[in-house]
């Protein structure tokens, strides 16, 4: 569906069901240069179980009008505006990678809206290699290749897909390429500059969940464990076979963890 935020056109997929703000909401926040298609199967799963699903494309990404946002804090503020415009409440936030940083900021500032938060493939911060940022600006194809090469584990590198016949790594590369160089560069710089993770994490009081990929080369397990320590009282899961792109690489395990957690903490009638 399309709607306006500050006069700019915004796209969000709702998982195949109309958005209904009287239902509990599952809000998916995508990683750098990715978009709503990253969450396709998960969005449909919750939408067809009486949740309202919201997967917005961040400004300047895929179907949403720019300009790109340049800090994690501004992305969190923008998410707040999306939530307000749509009248969403009783929200379960699910972030992946950069989306986790946005989730941290958003939930720490608007706890009254949120029933639970799930962080997939994240630490307290996401420092970005300077060479990658430079590549994003000057040679976006190389940057996209680096991110997908590092991001996907074995299943991705063997071109397997969450849906039979689909290649998840090719899909990821084509989506990122669509949002490069401007969206990718802005996202990577925003991730690199974000310093408020520790303070934001310590403010979170709602039920929290961390899902990590055991073979994640972008957010090593150590960073995820440190993140969990700062969050406190957080259920932490490691899917051994997965790289960084957990929702695609291990969709069934990931869905089960999200389902059990969200059903328990933000039940839909």
């Amino acid at each position: 569906m399309y709607f306006d935020i500050n006069g700019k056109r915004v796209f969000a997929t709702t998982g195949g069901k109309p958005f209904d703000n009287s239902k509990p909401v599952v809000l998916f926040l995508s990683g750098s240069a990715l978009d709503h298609t990253f969450w396709a199967l998960h969005a449909r799963f919750f939408a067809f179980r009486n949740y309202s699903v919201l997967v917005p494309d961040f400004p300047g990404h895929t179907n949403s009008e720019g300009p790109n946002l340049t800090s994690i804090e501004s992305m969190a503020d923008w998410i707040h505006e999306v939530v307000e415009v749509l009248g969403a409440r009783n929200i379960s936030v699910v972030g992946h990678s950069q989306g986790c940083l946005v989730a941290l900021e958003y939930v720490s500032h608007h706890p009254e809206k949120v029933r639970s938060v799930s962080f997939i493939g994240s630490g307290l911060a996401t420092p970005v290699n300077a060479a990658l940022i430079e590549a994003a600006e000057k040679d976006p194809a190389a940057a996209v290749a680096m991110m997908n090469s590092w991001g996907f584990g074995e299943a991705g590198h063997k071109h397997q897909g969450a849906v039979p016949g689909n290649s998840m790594v090719a899909g990821g590369m084509k989506t990122m390429a669509r949002n490069a160089p401007a969206g990718l560069t802005a996202d990577l710089k925003a991730c690199d500059a974000y310093q408020n993770g520790k303070a934001a994490a310590e403010k979170l009081r709602c039920p929290k969940q961390i899902i990590l990929g055991g073979k994640d080369r972008m957010t090593p397990r150590k960073a995820g464990v440190e993140f969990a320590m700062h969050l406190g009282n957080t259920e932490t899961h490691v899917i051994d076979s997965s790289g960084h792109m957990v929702p695609l690489e291990a969709p069934n395990e990931c869905r089960k963890l999200l389902r059990d957690f969200i059903f328990a903490n933000n039940p839909a009638t």
């Binding site: 067809f48 090469s149 063997k158 039979p164 016949g165």
Partner: protein, 432 residues
């Protein structure tokens, strides 16, 4: 730059996870129609496209899925769907996006089945085609109408072997926002990845070089994931809600693989031209050695081109690697390893000499196929292209004396010796 597996590695490994229970190294043949669901929630999730998985082998099958993912990987596509034959792939790919009243601009130099589909069959469903000489780039632009929804061609045209200028036609397709679909059977992704040169969708008869052994019929549609279906309202089958799946909007939900998802959701479900698991297994065995075989096809082709070009009973030889071919420069650009292993040539003495040649070779098989490991010969005017009219025959570059040769993997000295037998028999017609 990040590391990705290269072509030969993908040809062996892409798409397969070694099974946990038995550790089968080869891809197992899942010879089953259907799959036991662990619970009702899983069943409904698979049917509703909330999770990947298999419900019924007409739609998806684990063995076929390995082949699909492997070909998608080799082509650089976001998804692939295998079909029962190459023609099934072409029909399903076209009808996934075109409906009554729509129009195709297509190369005039294509496999007879493709021409017949567009000239005879699709018009019955209200889909018309304008055929254009593949060398006439401006002709493609000029043939575009308000209702044109597809540009179609073969990279290596069959049987005249004209090379389609992919970049130029891709630019026209982009300019007019019309997807560009390429039948890449004759080149395979080893010789050229058409998706890297402006194509949005590729089609293969995997019966041919991809399989290579001539034991299994199959086709594949590869979604390049590089066409913006949502930029216009011309492709409602991709961008509008699809009623059979609770109003699923494929473009919104699946983005770069929306086209493949449409094939899966509609053609495989409602029409059902599925590939059998056994055929997928056989084709996987062939695909593992694609580059090795193609290199041998090409080296044999090179030697036979020399042999035929210097033979006193050969009136002409056509292959894009020859400087005399009108597509030679395009062949060098798009097919630097070699422009495939099909050679057309004329036998001196005309139709009767050609017939005598074909009937007197023994190692080379006289049959209606190409891309087999074995050398094949045929007379297109009376076989593969016999159902198209004289005008189309000329447009396709087919002459009565033409012999189409699909160069196999035998020792080339044996092929040459075999051909000498054919030429000896044909000699009596020279000068008649």
């Amino acid at each position: 730059m990040g590391h990705f597996h290269h072509f030969d590695t993908l040809a062996l490994h892409a798409g397969q996870t070694v099974d946990d229970e038995f550790g089968a190294r080869a891809t197992p043949i899942y010879q089953t129609t259907s799959y036991v669901f662990p619970d009702t929630d899983t069943a409904s999730s698979i049917f509703n496209l909330e999770r990947g998985g298999h419900a019924y082998s007409r739609i998806t099958n684990p063995t076929v899925a390995v082949l699909e993912q492997r070909i998608a990987a080799l082509e650089g596509g976001s998804a692939a769907v295998c079909t029962s034959s190459g023609m099934a792939a072409t029909f399903c790919a076209i009808t996934a996006i075109l409906s009554q009243g729509d129009h195709i601009v297509a190369s005039s130099q294509m496999y007879g089945g493709n021409i017949s589909l567009m000239k005879n069959t699709l018009p019955r469903f209200g889909i018309t085609t304008t055929f254009v000489d593949p060398a006439d780039i401006e002709g493609f632009r000029a043939a575009i109408q308000d209702n044109t929804r597809l540009i179609y061609g073969e990279l290596i045209g069959n049987p005249g072997l004209d090379i389609l200028d992919l970049d130029a036609i891709g630019a026209i397709s982009k300019e007019h926002h019309i997807p560009f679909m390429v039948d890449a059977t004759f080149n395979t992704p080893y010789l050229c990845r058409c998706l890297d040169h402006g194509a949005n969708i590729t089609i293969h008869s995997v019966t041919k070089w991809m399989g290579g052994h001539g034991v299994a019929i199959g086709g594949v549609i590869v979604d390049g994931g590089n066409f913006d279906w949502g930029a216009t309202d011309r492709y409602p089958t991709i961008t509008e809600p699809y009623a059979p799946f609770s109003g699923l909007n494929l473009w919104d939900e699946f983005g770069p693989s929306a086209f493949a998802m449409r094939i899966r959701a509609e053609a495989m479900r409602d029409i059902g031209p599925s590939m059998s698991p056994m055929n997928a297994f056989l084709l996987l065995q062939g695909l593992e050695t694609l580059s090795l075989r193609m290199n041998k096809h090409l080296s044999n082709t090179k030697m036979l081109l020399e042999f035929l070009s210097n033979h006193e009973q050969v009136s002409w030889v056509s292959h894009p690697d020859l400087p005399s071919h009108r597509s030679h420069k395009l062949a060098q650009k798009y097919l630097p390893k070699g422009a495939g292993s099909i050679i057309s040539f004329g036998v001196k003495g005309g139709r009767d000499a050609g017939k005598a040649f074909i009937e007197n070779v023994g190692l080379a098989s006289h049959l209606a196929n190409v891309g087999d490991a074995k050398t094949l010969v045929i007379h297109p005017a009376t076989t593969t292209h016999s159902r198209i009219d004289a005008e189309a025959l000329i447009a396709a570059g087919i002459t009565e004396d033409m012999v189409r040769l699909s160069v196999g993997l035998e020792d080339v000295r044996d092929i040459e010796a075999d051909f000498e037998n054919g030429f000896r028999a044909a000699k009596k017609f020279v000068g008649d």
